[in-house]
Amino acid sequence: MNMAVTAIDPTTLKQRKNLVIGNPSAKLALAKDTAFIQSLVGCLSRAPLPQSEAQGSQDDVRIEAAHVISSISYGSDDALRSLLQASALHALLFALSTLKPYDPIALQTALLRALRTMSTAVAEVVGPSQLGLCSYSSDTRDEAKAVLDFLFELENLDVFLPLLDNKNVQLSTFVAQLIGATVRNKSHRSAVAEWLPFTDRIKEVKGKRGWEKPEAANSNAPSRLGGWVVRNLSTLLQYRNNNVQEAALSAIAALAMDNPNVTAALTKLTHDRESPTLLPTVLSLTTSRSTEVQLAACLCATHIIRANASNHPGTVDQAIASNIIHAINRVLSSSSERPPMRIRACYTLYYLVKDDKDICQAAVDHGALEKIASLTKSITPLTKDEERDEDEPESTAALREAALIVIAALSLFDNDIRREIADTLQLIPVIHISLSNRHVGVRYAACQCVRALSRAVAILRTNIMDSGLGSSLFQIFKKEEEDPRVTAAALAAITNMINDFSPLQPKLLAQGLMPRLKQLLDSGNSPTKVNVLWAIKNLLRKSTLETKQEVMTCLKWRQLANFCMDPDTGIQEQATAIFRNLAENDSGVDLIFQEMEKDLLFHALLTGLDSPDEDVKLQAAYFLANLANGQITHQDCIFTYPDILHSMHSCITDAKPEIRHPIMGCIYQMLSCNPKRRDDLNDFGIMATLRHMCDHTGGVSMSPGGRYPSHHIPMDDDKDTVLLARQILELDRVDH
C-alpha cells in the first residue's frame, strides 16, 4: 500500500498524527508508506527558505514531523524499521545539533521528545528487555543495534547530554528519560557516566597527572561525585515534580546498574554540604506519594547497593535491602495498584534478589514471596479456557510473567524456599498451567520456575512427578517451533531432571530425549551447545553401559572428541566432563578404548590438561584419573603418549590443589600396578618433583612460575596432596 502524500504541511501532518495516535493499524499503514516516511524525515532538516515562505511555517512543519515520528516509532516493529531505514534518528540528532538560539523552544522540545521516544523504541528492540521478554526479531535488531551504538558516540552525546543542565526542566527531563530507557549495556553506560562537557574535557586533560584520578586530586574536578551526568541528574531530584524525579531516578538507576565506579561515589561520605551523599535522598523517595517515584527510587537504590557489593558477594547492605523490600511489598499487596506498577515492582525485586541468596532469604523472610504467590494465584485460573485466555489483557499476562520470574529467582539457591513454593504456597498448579500459556514470556518464566524447583532432589522425586510438571515441560522442550528462549529455559530444567536421582530420567529417554538433544546440538549456537552437552553430562553420570552406548550412538565419538578441542571453553569443559562420566567405571573405560581412535582420544585429553581454563583442566584431570584406574593395557597406552606425562608434570607443579589431587591419584595408581613405570616417571621429572614436594613441608610449587609458592600450605587440600606424594614415594621405596 502506498499512501503517498503529495504535499507536507502542518495541517496534513497534524491530521496524520491524530490518525495514528492509539490506532496501531493506521500506524502500520503509515509506516509502510516509505515515500511519506522519507519525506517526513526530510522535513526535520532546516531547508533554505523560498522568498514566499515564512520561517514560522517551516518550524511548524518540523515540529509536526517530529511529533509524527514520535507517534509511529513506538509499538510497531514495522514502523520502527521504516524509520530506521529512513535514518530518522540520525536526522533528529542532526536537527538538534543545528538548532540556533533564535529557534523556538517548541521545536527543540519536539525534536528532543522524538529522539527520546525513538531511542527508547530502538533500545527495546536491541535489549536486554527491562520488563519481561519482548518479541525477538534478528533482522530489525542488527539495524537497531548499529543505530543505538551511534547514539552513544561522543559527538552525539554532545548533542543532547548538555541539555541536562538547562533552565527548561522539561528538556532535562526528556534527556533523563532517554538515559533511563536506553542505557542497557556496559559500554553505553560508561560512555554516558563518564561524559563531560567539551570545556570540562579540556580541563580534565590539562589537570591530569598520570598517576592520579582527577576526582581524587581535585574536589572541583568535573568527574567528581559520579560524574557530570550523575551530578546533574541528582540536581533534578530536588524538583518537587513527580515526572522529573521519576526520570532522574530512572536515569541514575540505569547508570548505576553493575557500575561500582558510579555507585561508590554515590554512597561514600562527603564533607561537601552542597553535594551530600545521594543514597539517603533516593531512599527518602521510596516513600513518595507517587507510586511511580517510589518504584523508580527502589530501582535506583537497588542498582546502587547491588553494584556497590558486586566486587564482594554477600556484602549487600541488608538494612537498605529491607527498606526496598518493604516498599515493593506495599505496591504488590495493594489491590488498587495498576498492573504496570506491579510489573515494575516485580522486576525491581528481581534485580534486587538476583543471584544473591542472602537477599533472596531476606525477601522471603519479609513476606515478599507470600505476596507474589498470592498475586500470581489471583490472576491465574487453574483451568484452560481458550476464549477467556484470548480475552485476557496483555498486562495481566505480563504481570504473571513478572511474578513467575521473581518466584524463579527467589528459589534458585535454597531448598527451604523451594519447599515453601511447592508445599506451603502450593504454586505448582499455577506454574503448570502457565507452561501452556499463549504468551512466550509466561511460558519462559514458568520454565524458569520448573528449572529452579528441579534443583531440589526432594521436589524432583515428589511434586514434579506427582503433578505431571516434568512431562508437560518435556513436551515444550520437544516442540521444534517453540521460541528459542523458552526452549533454552526448558532445557535447563530438563538438565536437572535427567540426573540419576530423578525418576523422570528413564521416561524422558524413552520419549525421545536424545534425538531432540542431538537436533539442538547440531543446529544451535555455542551457548546452546554448552547447554546440550551439560544435559548429556548429567544424563551419563552413574548410568548403565546400555545408556552410555545409546547416548554415544546418537552423539558420535568423533564429534565428542572434537568438542573437547572447541575454541569455546564452555563446550570443552562439558565435553571433557562427558568423557569423565563415561569413564566412571570399568565397563565405561573399556567402551572408550574400544570405540575411540587412540590418537584422537589422547589429543582431546591433552587439550584439556593443557588448557589455561581451570574448569576444563579439572575435568581433564579427573578423566585421566578414571582412565588410569582401568586395565593395565589401558594404562600402558597412556605411557605411549609422552605429552600426557609432560602435562601431568605441569599439573602437579602449577595447577591448583583440586586439579593436582586426581593427577597424583593417577600416578599412584599407575605406579602401583607396574613399578617399572618409575623410569618413565623419573624421565619426566615427576618423581623428583614429588620428592621436592615432600622435602619442603608445605612446598608444592617447584616451577618458577608456579601458582602456589613454596613453604606455604594454605588449604587442607594441599596437605592431602603432600600426603599423596609421600604415599607414592613410599610405594617407590618399597618396590626398590
Binding site: 535489549g127 534458585l412 528441579s454 532432589v457 562420566n581 586426581p662
Partner: protein
Amino acid sequence: MSSPDPLVDITHIRVRSKGHHCLYPGASFQGTQKSGRNSYDVNVTIVDVNFSSSFLCGYLRIRGLTDDWPELTTYFDAEIIGNRYGFLTQNWGANEQEDMVHWQRFPAFRHVKSDLKKPHLTMADRDRGAVFMRWKERFLVPDHRVQDINGASFAGFYYVCVDFNPQPSSSALRPAPLENELMDLSTSISQGKSEAVPISPPRRDSSARRGTRGSSVGPRASPPVATMSGFYFHQNSEPYQQLSLCHVPESRSSSFEFR
C-alpha cells in the same frame, strides 16, 4: 549482559556441588544401625551437597527391618550445623536438653562447644575436622507415596556427626554424658526442662560395629577412613538408636551440576 542473547538467563551463578572431604555427591557409607540387641545393615548415599547453604541430602537404606520390607530406602534432608543452623533443634519434638545429651555423645563435639553462639548455638563455618548434621527423613524411595510401613517409622530425626579423622584408639561414640557435663555446657545456654525420654518399641536397631572398608586400590586408602555416627531421636522411640558407618572410598569419580 551486553546483548539480549535469545538465550539470556535469569542467573549467572553456577551451583557447583562442592563436597568437603568424604561428603561429596555420590559418596557412600556402610555400616549398621543398632538398637538394643538388634542390628541392621545400613548404607547411606550422599546425593547432593551444598555447604554454602548448609544443605545436604541423600538416601538411607536399611536392610531386614521388617518382614514386609526386606530393604527400606528413605530420602533425607540434612541441616549442616554452622552459621545457619545451630545445635539447638527447636523442632521435631527435641528440646535443648535432649539436643545436648545427644550431641555430647559425639567425641568431636567437645572440640566445638566452646565456640557456640547464642541463641541457637550456631558456630562459624570453617573446617573443624568434623561435620555435625541433623537428618530428617522425608519419604520412601523409590515410591514416595507409601506412607505407612508396618513396624517402622521415620517420624523422628537423626543427630549425625561425620568425623574426618577419627581416633583409631577411641570409640567414635561416647556413652551418655554425665549430669555435671551437661551442667557445664548449660552455662552457655538457657536451662531446658528435663524430661524423661519415653521408651518406645524399637523401630530400628543394630549392633555397633565398624563398617567394611572399601576395596579401592587408589591412594585414598591410607588416610584414616572417615566415620559417620548418628542417633535416631523420636519422643516415642527407644533412645540412642545408633548409626555407625564408614566411608567407602572410590577410585573413580563422576560429576553432575544443576542448571
